[in-house]
């Protein structure tokens, strides 16, 4: 490490609170840039005010002017959305233009102004009334349209207040956008060439900001909390979208280090880009499927172009979070259909609800447990409350008409559970067939192998399932009985533990014997170091975070399955994870 960098780090440690803030890194990349504080108008901030006597005329003129600005802005946004985000997003914005011009919207605002309210108050009142109409509707999708109404009203207020500072359209040089949170309409307006990073106060891994940042390739740190208040407009920032660290006013050495990291990342990215539309094939012709893990249908958009040949794991629990009741069949159907369509006929493995344990859903009223990972979760909850599973299966089967959906059941520990699931599945399918609901002719169903018991009994399961997908994250923790979040025992947690490798081999062998396939959707599948071993074992499908796709594809192309088998033979004879790592490290260093 150069001396200057070392000094800088030491100083940073001393004065950490002032010079660096930490959030959640959700979209990778190192960026240096000036902060652009973005403070959008909020409808709730508009005070309730009457217009001065005799000023109604003037208020009406202001209103009309704001509406015209708004129309022009929306039309421009529609044009941009068509180019950058596709017709679907453009249609939503076009809908906003119609709302703005709607006889049941704008004329009502005019009436409120004529009744003496200020233009801003009138907009707020009518927007809230109209949004409430949507919020009271039966259909969950329609209820969510209230957000579109609010978006229109907010836009109108913004023009009324003539808020110039902090508008996204003002950005004319490369900046890092700093905001409380970003809305869908904000992200349409962004110029990717000018916005190199996001920093937001709120948000998590699956927030809208995180998803958009990933799909646009903008580095992002979300959930930075009160730290955001330390950032002033125009301040120099060095942001790291991997670690979530943001340096405020970095010195020259820190800036140089960040720029160097970005250059290195971009060189790597260019090199990897060549693998996006290339299949992953070993030198001797073995071709595994390379798939992505997603948490929402929005993440599936554009995946094929980014190198994914399938979705190997769609975690449906996010659909169930942050709500007051389980999502209805229609809401779920739309989400699954959207994911299936985004993948354009490629496989989409959708995991049934995996909640309980550490993932709480208040409306399910699952009591806290002493040992949640060994407790009431996933399929155990779903078989106990079949109405949850039946709704989900109906939505999944209906969506199967729109792509290639496969259904994966998590936390299966024994054949009885699987058989109960299958009989429920058959029943639901029967109902839908009787009602002439369109469905795919065949929908594969399989299990997520994450409990050692299922891995040990893989030969028996192989007779009854269509596929296996090995969830290494849980399989490792259950096999070595160590929680990787517990620092004291995290050292024991290692997917290169020989016992884990034997279980993985057992599952793959069992599937090959029966002519079915085995995938892997834990973090092991996205680790280039593990790839030669998994190819040697004959894994059929690798599913990983989209960010790892290209590196894994490149690695597969460097391999020869024959050589990997020989390596795997040696590894199967080893005693400790350390030996396995060393052997894989040495093997990797010889690849060119």
């Amino acid at each position: 490490m150069p001396a200057a960098r070392k000094r800088a780090m030491e100083r940073k440690r001393i004065d950490m609170a002032k010079q660096a803030i930490k959030g959640l890194g959700v979209s990778p990349g190192a960026r240096v840039g000036r902060a652009f504080r973005y403070a959008p108008v909020r409808l709730e901030e508009v005070p309730e005010t009457k217009a001065e006597a005799g000023e109604s005329e003037q208020e009406l003129r202001k209103l009309q002017e704001a509406k015209e600005h708004c129309s022009r802005e929306l039309e421009e946004l529609v044009k941009q959305a068509k180019e950058k985000l596709g017709e679907g997003k453009a249609a939503i914005l076009k809908g906003q233009i119609s709302m703005l011009n709607d006889p049941a919207f704008y004329p009502l605002i005019v009436k409120q102004v004529q009744a003496g309210w200020s233009a801003g108050t009138a907009v707020r009142k009518v927007t809230e009334q109209t949004a409430a109409l949507f919020e009271n509707m039966k259909n969950a999708y329609m209820r969510e349209r209230a957000a579109d109404v609010r978006d229109v009203g907010t836009r109108l207020v913004k023009h009324l207040l003539n808020r110039k500072g902090g508008q996204l359209s003002d950005i004319d040089r490369e900046v890092i956008l700093v905001a409380d949170d970003l809305a869908p309409s904000d992200t349409v307006q962004l110029d990717q060439r000018l916005v190199s990073g996001f920093v937001t106060r709120i948000g998590g891994k699956t927030s809208h900001t995180a998803i958009m940042a990933n799909s646009l390739g903008i580095a992002a740190v979300v959930g930075a909390g009160a730290g955001v208040d330390l950032i002033e407009d125009g301040m120099l920032l060095a942001l790291d979208g991997d670690s979530g660290l943001i340096l405020l006013e970095p010195d020259e050495a820190e800036t140089a280090a960040s720029l160097a990291k970005r250059q290195e990342q971009e060189r790597e990215k260019r090199e990897l880009a060549a693998y996006a539309n290339r299949p992953a094939v070993t030198k001797d012709g073995y071709r595994p499927e390379i798939a992505a893990n997603i948490g929402s249908p929005a993440e599936a958009v554009g995946l094929p172009e980014r190198g994914a040949e399938a979705v190997g794991l769609y975690r449906t629990e996010f659909l169930f979070m942050n709500r007051t009741a389980a999502p209805d069949e229609e809401t779920q159907f739309r989400a699954y259909k959207e994911a299936a369509e985004a993948m354009q006929g490629r496989p989409v493995v959708i995991r049934t609800l995996d909640v309980g344990g550490d993932k709480e859903l208040p409306y399910l009223n699952i009591p806290k447990e002493m040992n949640p990972f060994l407790g009431y979760r996933a399929i155990r909850v779903c078989l106990d409350r079949p109405e949850l599973l039946v709704t989900q299966l109906r939505a999944l089967l209906r969506a199967s008409a729109y792509g290639q959906i496969k259904i994966m059941v998590p936390m299966i520990s024994g054949l009885s559970e699987w058989r109960r699931f299958k009989s429920l599945f058959a029943e639901v399918r029967q109902q839908l067939t009787a009602a002439n609901v369109p469905m795919a002719g065949r929908v594969e169903t399989g299990i997520m192998v994450e409990i050692p018991a299922a891995a040990v009994q893989a030969d028996r399961f192989a007779r009854e399932v269509d596929f296996f997908s090995i969830g290494t994250n849980d399989l490792v923790q259950y096999t070595v009985a160590a929680d990787r979040m517990n620092e004291k025992v995290a050292g024991l947690y290692d997917y290169f533990h020989p016992a884990v490798i034997r279980l993985v081999k057992r599952v793959i062998d069992a599937s090959r014997e029966r002519g079915i396939w085995t995938g892997m959707c834990g973090s092991m599948a996205g680790d280039p170091l593990a790839v030669p071993l998994l190819i040697g074992l004959g894994l059929h499908e690798f599913s990983m975070s989209p960010a790892s796709l290209l590196a894994v594809k490149r690695r597969v192309g460097q391999l020869d399955q024959g050589e990997c088998r020989a390596l795997t033979e040696r590894i199967l004879d080893m005693d400790t994870p350390e030996e396995v790592r060393a052997a894989l490290g040495e093997f990797a260093s010889c690849l060119g």
């Binding site: 119609s98 709302m99 709607d102 006889p103 049941a104 999708y141 329609m142 349209r145 109404v149």
Partner: protein, 90 residues
Amino acid sequence: MFQKLTTIRNKDGFHIRPAQLFVEKAAGYQATIKLITEEPSAEIDGKSILGLMTLGLEKGKTLLIQAEGPDEEAAVHDLADLVESGFGES
């Protein structure tokens, strides 16, 4: 005045895309356009996307399209065809 009874064919009725298509077409006619439904019992302006969306019409429900103006007949036929086509959805 010219009118015609139609049935909603697409699964989710007037969500944002069909509603947008409908009002876009309706706005192209001079005639005033009224939509009347029995269930829920309502009468709305056919050029209002908010009205259409908040009707909450679903597949199988009937909708009476009424137009009044110089191009009333063309408007009613055109809009009825759009509804009957299911807006290009299943």
